[in-house]
């Protein structure tokens, strides 16, 4: 790969997820095949059709100061935890970058739902004077980006893409653009979500989008499997530090991978239903591969969006097969993490990068009986155990309600 000023690389990673409180423990648990899914035991859930959730492996209270935490919504707490890990990993504080050249792009799908709903309870029970003065900054969807921006002193701009379950990937793409357009020298990007509460659970369940395999938590999220019946709601955050390759090299930074290209499209088809053949997703994948200066044959691995819904998985399989072919090793890591909504695209970017680094593709858990759909049958979906392979380019898909499609291409350096 040639290096130019437009080459963008990843120099830091961070995450707190249902599989672990940091990147290393999450990646280890993923490769070990562990599940982050459990059954909710609180009383409120007893009348709910879907009772499963993938909660954080490590309580944010263990990772963030109490006084700081009480002014941050849970979605902001986990954003800050993941972002600070990535920033430390990249040695961002010692990089000598002018704060006016540091930007943050951090997305969320739902925003500060726990604060909104919790303060609504306060309003109903105690009246308007008891509503917290921190309510608005805690519930606004740009709150996680703003909190991360403050944490690292970013002054080149703080941005908050909101595109449902594509938000995390959208943030990565915006970061790439900021660096290509020379609007910043270092960009901390990521996604966050923490909305485990009866209302979002009831809303997703009413859409018939969630798995009701309540008696088998670890087997409920089963992308591409014939028996899949919906996603499992998860919480967490992931972050990446991006910078131009020449700057990273000049400061002697550790480089994980190159963020070679991105593609974004809109379905223009339905507000929430996926196009049956994944047309918009296919166009995003093709755009990302072209943007990376590659061809479909170069893509050795795909981290699929695959949430375990009946329609979404087959649509994506069709799009992958038509756009890239049958050769890439496909995995669906939501089978173990559950669906982190606005954090998913960022977390799966982390997984894609680590797969490139370690030359190993994590297995898709619970894929016991692949769907009869031709595209699912013909794709090489890694299952049972992780597979070692040699590949230099990998693609991460993310799609969101609203018809948002993102594809990101990472390569080895």
């Amino acid at each position: 790969m040639s290096t130019s000023t437009a080459d963008v690389v990843v120099t830091g990673l961070g995450a707190t997820t249902p599989l672990g409180g940091d990147v290393a423990s999450t990646w280890e648990a993923l490769l070990a095949g562990r599940s982050g899914v459990s059954r909710i035991t609180e009383d409120w859930v007893k009348d709910f059709p879907a009772q499963l959730v993938a909660r954080l492996a490590v309580d944010p209270a263990e990772q963030i100061d109490r006084v700081r935490a009480r002014r941050l919504d849970r979605s902001q707490q986990v954003a800050v935890i993941a972002a600070e890990e990535a920033w430390r990993d990249a040695a961002g504080a010692n990089a000598g970058v002018d704060p006016e050249r540091i930007a943050v792009v951090f997305g969320t799908g739902i925003g500060g739902a726990l604060t909104l709903l919790g303060q609504d309870d306060v309003l109903e029970q105690k009246g308007p004077k008891r509503v917290s003065p921190h309510t608005i900054p805690m519930l606004m969807p740009n709150g996680p980006a703003a909190a991360v921006g403050l944490a690292v002193g970013a002054r080149a701009g703080v941005h908050a893409p909101v595109s449902a379950c594509a938000s995390g990937a959208e943030a990565v793409r915006w970061g790439l653009d900021l660096l290509r357009f020379d609007r910043a020298d270092m960009v901390l990007v990521g996604g966050t979500e923490a909305c485990v509460h009866p209302l979002p659970m009831a809303g997703f369940a009413a859409m018939r989008a969630m798995s009701t395999r309540n008696d088998e938590p670890s087997r409920a999220s089963r992308p591409f499997d014939k028996g899949r019946d919906g996603f499992v709601l998860a919480e967490g955050a992931a972050a990446l530090v991006l910078e131009r390759a020449d700057a990273a090299k000049a400061r002697g930074a550790k480089v994980y991978a190159r963020l070679a290209g991105a593609g974004a499209t809109a379905d223009g088809y339905d507000l929430v239903a996926p196009h049956p053949e994944g047309a918009g997703g296919a166009r995003a994948m093709a755009a990302a591969i072209k943007d990376a200066g590659l061809t479909a044959a170069d893509i050795g691995h795909v981290n699929a969006h695959a949430t375990s819904t009946p329609m979404g998985d087959t649509a994506e399989a069709t799009a992958i097969r038509r756009t890239i072919g049958d050769h890439p090793l496909v995995t669906a890591t939501k089978s173990q993490t559950g669906h982190l909504l606005g954090a998913a695209g960022a977390l799966e970017s982390v997984f894609t990068i680590l797969a490139l680094r370690d030359q190993i593709v994590p297995a898709t858990a619970n894929l016991d009986d692949p769907d009869d759909h031709a595209a699912v049958q013909e794709l090489d979906i890694v299952r049972t155990e992780p597979r070692r392979a040699s590949f230099s380019a990998a693609l991460n898909d993310s799609f969101g309600f609203g018809g948002h499609n993102l594809a990101l291409v990472f390569t080895t350096v």
Partner: protein, 81 residues
Amino acid sequence: MSSTAEIQTGVAEILEEVAGVAPADVSPEKSFTDDLDVDSLSMVEIATAVEDKFGVAIPDDELGNIKTVGDAISYIEKNQG
């Protein structure tokens, strides 16, 4: 009715809970914003907590006059009961 010392202790507890201020740093001459680094939103939280703990009402125009820990103690002493 709480004594002055009890009020100061109560205010210190609120400051620790809301803003992470060490109780040892709390004394009557300390300014909330300049010395104890309490921001404006946290000041609103502190006022609400004081209202609940001491049974006093702090209207917004009075809150603006409470600059120091001593101001808060005097206000509570005058208005409690």
